[in-house]
């Protein structure tokens, strides 16, 4: 099913494409995308369901700093890099989304 292109999806696409091969964390993504956690986590679930993202759990070193539980990370799949990359590129040219990519021009 084709999902609608929402502002949240565009913001997430732009944030994810800042590091297309890296690992991303939920809350860190929310901050970079300028979105509330209440929007980001359900959006990440939809991107996972659509096969644009894949997830996993980080390996936490047992020595050194205070131990903490492993975090869940999200990585772009090839399809995700393609689709969300296209969306992020479109956002730079589409006046509807230009405020997201270039907040100064909004």
């Amino acid at each position: 099913m084709q999902r609608r292109t929402t502002e949240a999806k565009v913001r997430l696409a732009v944030a994810l494409m800042e590091d297309p091969h890296g690992r991303h964390w939920g809350y860190e993504l929310a901050k970079r995308a300028g979105l509330r956690s209440g929007i980001v986590y359900p959006a990440l679930t939809r991107l996972l369901e659509d096969g644009l993202l894949t997830d996993g759990w980080e390996e936490v070193p047992t020595t050194g700093r205070r131990p903490r539980p492993p975090r869940r990370y999200y990585e772009l799949t090839n399809k995700g890099r393609q689709d969300l990359g296209a969306l992020a590129t479109e956002a730079t040219t589409n006046p509807r989304w230009s405020g997201i990519v270039n907040p100064g021009l909004a």
Partner: protein
Amino acid sequence: MEALEAMARPSTYFAAVLVMGLLPGLVLRLLVRLYPKDHPRRTELLAELYALPWWERPFFVAQVIEVATCEGLPLRAVRTLAAARRRGSRLAVDRADLATAAATLVFSGLSVGLAAVFATMGFVIVDGYVLGAIDDWGDAWRVPVFLNAGFGAAVAAVDALRGAVEIWRDRPARTG
């Protein structure tokens, strides 16, 4: 000077330890219980909390209230109902229906209450404007805040009620 004195009080110190240190973890542990037992978000949100610097934790927990209520609670309700129906127990189905209805009613009731309070306060202040009482109040900024909060709570109330209706409509037919 008063602010400095307040900061030096032991009660301020303990309040800070409570709000910044103990409460975020405790409240988050309660909030993630709104998700179904095996849902990865339970572990994910807790792990995110402990990866954050302590001063950001209360704000993160405040945001999780929305995530857990809008994403976790409906999932939990659906799973609980499905599990109850799989067991085929009329009593379990009734209890699950009751729990879902109660949770939804509490949420929508709170939202309606908030909407009423905020909207009333907003309108009272607007009325104050009309009567030329702006100078006495000197709180013009509160009008949009209260009206927005009232509108937000009203939208949440409508959403919650719509969710309750959808859950009710989608319920499988009972057998036996």
